[in-house]
């Protein structure tokens, strides 16, 4: 996520107080710059940030009276967002999922990271070094165990999914904290990952073409064969799930299966 806006006290309060009290189900707004502040829009604009279930932000309205200002972060698609109220040295972070009914289970974005086998080794090593640090950066550990930055990043993604580290957007660093849930189960029970592994186990993936730029494969579905393409320009699949979400919720099980088959770090035994 990157920072999209920063408001002073007055504009923060003005924006939060102007939020609608209730909205109809599935109504989304775009939040765009207007004057010195932000306003709600119904149009997807270039600098817009999409927020569904906007009444969730009303939580900040009472706190905003005491705040110095507000920073807003969002991912490149502008789906999930984080809203930080600043109180001197303290920050209050409110993170919103893309939709009210969607959770945070990486929303599929870290599924590929969870699939990696190599990260298990690194994960155990890194976990051993967690000592409630308030700032941890993956790059700091790259030299330790002959691991690439990408591998280290994946290991931290997995730790995040397990609830063992959080990420502070304003500092751009992880921090050690442990949520009171057994989130290691995520990797075991996440349906898409499970199904992707099943596809690989059943030899349902056939690589058609593989170059440095693209990988094309066929994956057997129910009564049909899906075509998967992995490339720098973006991954795609012909299944209805991918057609509907276009990657905004992470890879579908077919793309994931092809990733598992083709990427050395993700290869299964």
């Amino acid at each position: 996520m990157e920072r999209r806006a920063h408001l002073g006290k007055i504009e923060t309060l003005r924006f939060l107080r102007a939020l609608p009290r209730s909205t109809m189900a599935k109504t989304a707004y775009w939040i765009i710059p207007a004057g010195n502040g932000l306003r709600l829009s119904q149009r997807e604009g270039e600098h817009g940030l999409r927020v569904a279930g906007i009444e969730r932000l009303r939580l900040l309205a009472d706190l905003a009276l005491l705040a110095d200002g507000l920073s807003v972060f969002a991912d490149s698609r502008g789906d999930a967002s984080e809203w930080q109220l600043h109180f001197g040295p303290l920050n209050f972070h409110l993170t919103l999922t893309a939709e009210v009914w969607r959770g945070f289970s990486g929303e599929g974005q870290v599924l590929a990271d969870l699939a990696a086998k190599e990260r298990d080794r690194l994960l155990n090593l890194v976990q051993g070094l967690l000592k409630w640090q308030s700032e941890i950066r993956p790059a700091e550990f790259v030299g330790n165990w002959d691991a690439s930055l990408e591998s280290m990043r994946r290991a931290f993604s997995a730790l995040g999914s397990r609830g063992l580290v959080g990420y502070d957007l304003s500092r751009g660093a992880y921090f050690h904290r442990e949520l009171p849930f057994n989130l290691a189960l995520v990797e075991e029970i996440h349906p898409r990952l499970k199904n992707a592994r099943k596809l690989v186990e059943n030899a349902s993936v056939r690589i058609l073409q593989r170059t440095d730029e693209i990988i094309e494969a066929e994956v057997l579905g129910t009564d049909v064969t899906h075509r998967v393409r992995l490339s720098e320009a973006g991954d795609r699949c012909t299944c209805p799930w991918h057609a509907k979400h276009q990657g905004s919720r992470g890879p579908c099980k077919h793309i994931l299966a092809v990733q598992i088959v083709t990427e050395p770090e993700l290869a299964l035994e």
Binding site: I10, L40, L65, R227, R229, T238, A243
Partner: protein, 940 residues
């Protein structure tokens, strides 16, 4: 002795509850259990008959088994038998288990004494809390008989609110609520108090009872009376009502408790004892609760003044509340403290300053008046605090702020917008390269985009790309074509054969696209329905479907050709030179062009680039070629093909009459040879229902000439006025796509929208989500805001639903930024609507203030618009006209202007001369400074 199943069945079929009770009297548990299956089966059969009344599957089963016509009358005896013989789990599984009359339930359970009576009582309380219905009487009977303990479930107290009353008997006076409560003494002394702890729901609560029961015998009066008679302890009632206000109840339900507290008429001494609770309630998030608490505090202050320090701490949340009345009430409380404790004035003033965060100018004015009375203008602490909140101060109060900060009024900060651009800015050309729509060039991309479009056809540009892609690539049939298109084919079949979520309508757009995709993939005709049938009338949606059919006829036989009407640029526009190339390719091929494709292509021609295109189009032949050349600007006589020539004419002249065309092709309908003329009227109507009265907007719009009975299915400009005999439910995507058919003239779409938006002013509805598609084009850079567009915009800005209103705000902001706004046209429409006197149009003040925030250009435009809106009859002004005046006053203060417009001045002068409206009228009319160039914000 075992129980006789035959005798039991006879009793059940007779429906005699007393006989059933007698049947089981004295039976042992094993005896009871031996017939339980029979009883449960019978109960389920009766329930099946009940469901058969509304469920087709159940009805079929009932028919097979033989219906039981009087199932309703037999239910009490059946459930009594279940209570006498079934296990708790079996009873739990039965539907409508509360059918047993209370006396019978008591008798049965007193006789049977199962170990689960407490659980049964809890079970009776489960289920949705409804206004009519509930098992409270049966539960109470069991508790009174000592058979079980009072259930813990909150419905045990909430159901009492309605169920305590006996069944209504015509002509008989119902008993008093107080007397009914006295009969439930044990409940009154214990469980009743939980009514102050549980919220209830939208149907059942103390607040609902008072408002909707329409009885003079209210719970408030009954409880107050019982308090006076010392049946209910007064102190406990006072405390419980205050505690209820501290809970998280919604405003409507919380209101009962504050009113009840006041109905007990607490003495000053009683209030003084509870001062700490009132002070805590000042922090409530519910404005009426805060007002209630402030009133109580002010009463206490009269007999026992509070220390300023204590008051300041308690008032902080109220001073910074959003509501005007709350903040002003808090300031009044501080006033007393400031007068009593002059030594604490600085602390009190510092406490008051955060009230400037309230956006209402009248609150901010009250703050400055407070500071002027009690503050020291030389105090650096106060000045520093004021400086922190400088940006929050309303424009009209900047001079007062300036007097505190010691800066001249001219230098007080205005709308210092960071990075504000020069406005208005001219929008990009319709055919600017930045707006180009890239074509799909290969089969893989086509399959991918087609899949996405079939799942969610929300983007018309993507739909058009797919149509164009299929049109040009339909001859590409590699060996693995069937495999590659397999998933798309499967999905298209499912979409085509799926009638929609509830079976009540077919989503025409998805249906049409699915049939086209199948025609392409299978190479066969897949269109099984008439376009007019799918589109529910002769209209532009039918035209769209005709177009899809035409494309499908060609792609079935793999005749790959460019789609004439495929947009080259966003918004549905076609670059003229590109169309000429396409047309030439068709001409060269010798194939017959589809007329829907031709008509649409002509209507989508961009005005830019026509001269160049005409140069290239010299070799176009035939009547169609002549029509195209005519559209580009060459002169030809109107030909015989009405649809084609109308498209060509309307491509050149979007509005107005076409005499030459009308002569050649008369009476074809609105926007054929005679331009559509719209006339409308709006008025208010008072309606009443069940004791509630409200004012409703009535709206009527007529189009001339009238739409003929039969219209050629390619006469697109006329089809926009055609009937659409269905609702918008689920059709947002199709509405959005159709808006790109004739991007140069959307007046017919906006006219239709106005008729739908009428209801959106009155109330928010799920259909507002679909209506949004009608007004999305308002924000597009090349949409002309003509009369119907302006009317739609005015209605949209007053919509109750925030998202729909947001479309209006977006549209107005964009129109001002791009110089498209005709203030007279929009202001004129608003003036006429304002004359209906409907107060809902006061929502414009909120919408327009959002628009004004964007830039100084928007401030000026909104000020002009407000001025133009005040051209009507002031005697018909809505009740909340003061909201308009306040916004106008602030905007004029901001730009340093005065109201020069005489008609607007006359309107304001003619408004009722009382209260806030009168004060604001005087202020506006008294504004004396003309606009100083150096004060214009973009000049700083």
């Amino acid at each position: 002795m075992p129980l006789s199943v035959e005798k039991l069945q006879k009793n059940l079929r007779g429906g005699d509850v007393a006989a059933v009770c007698k049947f089981f009297e004295g039976a042992t548990e094993p005896e009871r259990r031996s017939v339980a299956l029979t009883v449960v089966h019978w109960c389920k059969l009766l329930a099946l008959n009940w469901r058969g009344g509304y469920n087709k599957k159940a009805a079929a089963e009932v028919k097979k088994l033989g219906p039981i016509g009087n199932w309703y009358e037999l239910m009490p005896a059946a459930h009594a038998a279940a209570l006498a013989s079934a296990s708790l789990a079996e009873i739990k599984a039965l539907e409508r288990r509360g059918f047993v009359p209370s006396e019978a339930a008591v008798a049965i359970l007193a006789d049977r004494r199962p170990p689960w009576i407490d659980d049964y009582a809890e079970l009776l309380c489960e289920g949705e809390l409804r206004r009519f219905g509930g098992n409270w009487k049966q539960t109470r009977a069991l508790v009174r008989a000592g058979l079980c303990r009072p259930p813990k479930h909150e419905n045990y107290v909430l159901e009492a609110l309605n169920c305590i009353w006996p069944r209504y008997e015509q002509g008989k006076e119902p008993p008093k609520l107080g007397d009914l409560l006295l009969k439930e003494r044990d409940w009154l002394e214990s469980d009743f108090w939980r009514l102050f702890e549980v919220d209830g729901n939208g149907e059942v609560s103390l607040a609902n009872c008072e408002k909707y029961r329409k009885s003079k015998d209210t719970w408030t009066d009954a409880l107050a009376e019982l308090s006076r008679r010392a049946v209910l302890p007064r102190d406990r009632l006072l405390d419980a009502s205050l505690e209820a206000l501290s809970r998280d109840f919604i405003q409507f339900r919380a209101g009962w408790f504050s009113r009840f507290h006041e109905a007990l008429v607490p003495t000053s001494a009683e209030r003084a004892e509870r001062i700490d609770v009132y002070l805590r309630l000042l922090a409530s998030g519910i404005p009426p609760t805060v007002a209630f608490a402030a009133n109580a505090v002010s009463i206490v202050e009269q007999i026992k003044p509070l220390a300023a320090a204590k008051l300041i701490g308690a008032l902080q949340p109220a001073l910074t509340a959003k509501g005007k009345a709350v903040a002003k009430g808090a300031l009044q409380l501080l006033e007393g403290a400031a007068q009593r404790e002059p030594n604490s004035k600085q602390a009190i003033c510092i406490a008051a300053i955060p009230a400037l965060l309230n956006e209402a100018p009248e609150v901010q004015k009250a703050v400055f008046e407070f500071l002027d009375r009690h503050g020291d203008k030389q105090d650096p602490v106060l000045r520093s605090k004021l400086q922190e909140l400088e940006g929050a101060v309303a424009a009209s109060l900047k001079p007062r702020l300036a007097s505190w900060l010691g800066t001249p009024p001219d230098q007080a900060k205005g709308r210092a917008v960071t990075g504000e651009m020069d406005l208005p800015r001219k929008p990009l050309s319709r055919i600017d390269p930045a707006r180009a729509v890239p074509s799909i060039t290969n089969l893989d991309d086509l399959i991918h985009v087609a899949g996405a479009v079939l799942e969610e056809p929300a983007n018309p540009t993507e739909i058009e790309r797919v149509l164009d892609g299929i049109s040009r690539l339909c001859d590409q049939r590699p060996e693995d074509f069937e495999r590659r298109t397999g998933p798309l084919r499967k999905r298209a079949l499912k979409t085509r054969d799926n009638p929609g979520a509830d079976g009540s309508y077919k989503p025409a757009l998805e249906h049409g696209l699915a049939m086209l995709f199948l025609a392409w993939i299978k190479g066969a005709n897949e269109f099984t329905e008439r376009p007019e049938g799918l589109a529910d009338g002769q209209n532009q949606y039918a035209f769209l479907l005709h177009r899809l059919m035409a494309i499908s006829r060609r792609v079935q036989v793999r005749s790959a050709m460019p789609l004439l009407s495929a947009p080259t640029h966003l918004g549905g526009w076609i670059e003229p030179c590109v169309l000429v190339e396409r047309w030439q390719e068709w001409q060269k091929s010798g194939l017959e062009m589809d007329r829907h494709d031709q008509v649409l292509a002509l209507l989508r021609l961009s005005p830019e680039g026509r001269e160049q295109a005409l140069e290239l189009a010299k070799d176009l032949s035939g009547e169609a070629g002549q029509a195209f050349q005519f559209a580009l600007g060459h002169e030809h006589s109107t030909g015989t093909n009405a649809a084609l020539w109308l498209a060509a004419w309307r491509s050149r002249e979007q509005q107005g009459d076409l005499p030459e065309f009308e002569t050649k092709h008369p009476h074809l309908g609105p926007d054929a040879g005679v331009g559509a003329q719209y006339s409308w009227k709006a008025w208010s109507e008072r309606r009443e229902f069940v004791g509630h009265a409200w004012t409703h907007l009535q709206f009527e719009l007529t189009t001339q000439p009238r739409f003929p009975k039969q219209v050629d299915d390619a006469l697109l400009p006329v089809l926009f006025h055609g009937p659409w005999q269905t609702s918008e439910e689920g059709k947002k995507n199709m509405i959005r796509w159709a808006a790109q058919l004739w991007p140069a003239n959307r007046e017919a779409i906006f006219a239709f929208a106005c008729q739908r938006l009428e209801i959106s002013v009155d109330y928010a509805d799920a259909m507002d989500r679909e209506f949004c598609a009608y007004v999305e084009p308002l924000a597009e850079p090349h949409t002309e805001l003509r009369p119907m567009a302006c009317l739609a915009l005015a209605l949209c800005l007053a919509a109750q639903d925030s998202a729909l209103r947001g479309h209006g705000v977006d549209g107005l902001i964009a129109a001002i930024a791009e110089g498209r706004l005709d203030v007279n046209e929009l202001g004129g429409a608003m003036a006429r609507l304002l004359d209906t006197g409907i107060n809902k149009f006061a929502r414009w003040a909120k919408s327009l203030s959002e628009v004004a925030r964007v830039s100084s250009t928007h401030v000026r435009a909104v000020a002009e618009l407000l001025t133009r809106t005040l051209y009507g009859d002031p005697t018909k002004a809505p009740r909340d006209i003061s909201a308009f005046l306040e916004l106008l006053f602030e905007l004029l203060s901001e730009i340093g202007g005065k109201l020069d417009d005489q008609r607007a001045r006359d309107y304001i002068a003619g408004l009722p001369a009382s209260g806030r409206t009168a004060r604001l009228s005087r202020q506006i009319l008294a504004l004396s400074s003309p606009i100083k160039p150096e004060l214009l914000l973009d000049g700083r």
